[in-house]
Point group: C2
Chain length 86, copies 2
DNA sequence: ATAATATTTAGATATTTGTCTAAATACCTA
DNA sequence: TAGGTATTTAGACAAATATCTAAATATTAT
């Protein structure tokens, strides 16, 4: 199930770009949306998918919601791929 | 483009199981199909997607088509993931 | 040459997915 | 409390995807 949600979350160029953005710094939903030519509700939906996959976390800060990359889950992904290599 | 086809190919439980099978040994299309409760044409389609992503290679051997895992492409996948970690 | 086996191609269909607009919710400020 | 900003939820829709059956293609064996 974990691999399922991880690959599903990363199987989209927009979502891969979002995690690449969050690698640089934490950003709120609006700042993230500003980087794309996609409506805010759509970005919100992408964030939800990334969050369900545990690739990002969110924290409410006043009226903003700040998103952060969760790098620890990437270990699981790398481990799965590495098992294919031996 | 490469990440796109790689994540697309691996965003399916059946296809992930196929590469796990091919990790153990090369197999022909029929042997692979025998491992699943899915029609042969569907498996053939999955193999095509994996092949397009360069995750597997195929070689015709008489009336059989033998499939092999291509582990070298996994480097690209791992490298992309690793860039997120620093 | 015919029949049998292995695999792929073609076409159809139900489900999933990415996107949008409109509306709802939450928070802040005057 | 009223109005403005930030974000999510709801509902709709087109495109992509996974699956199937039937048919086509390729190879082997009788």
């Amino acid at each position: 199930m974990k691999m399922n949600s991880l690959f599903k979350a990363l199987n989209d160029e927009t979502r891969r770009q979002i995690v690449e953005l969050l690698k640089e710094r934490d950003m709120n939903a609006g700042e993230i949306a500003d980087q794309f030519n996609i409506s805010k509700p759509s970005i919100s939906h992408h964030l939800d998918i990334l969050k369900r996959a545990d690739l990002i976390t969110s924290e409410k800060k006043g009226q903003f919601v700040e998103y952060s990359l969760n790098t620890s889950i990437l270990e699981d992904l790398i481990n799965w791929i590495l098992t294919l290599k031996n």
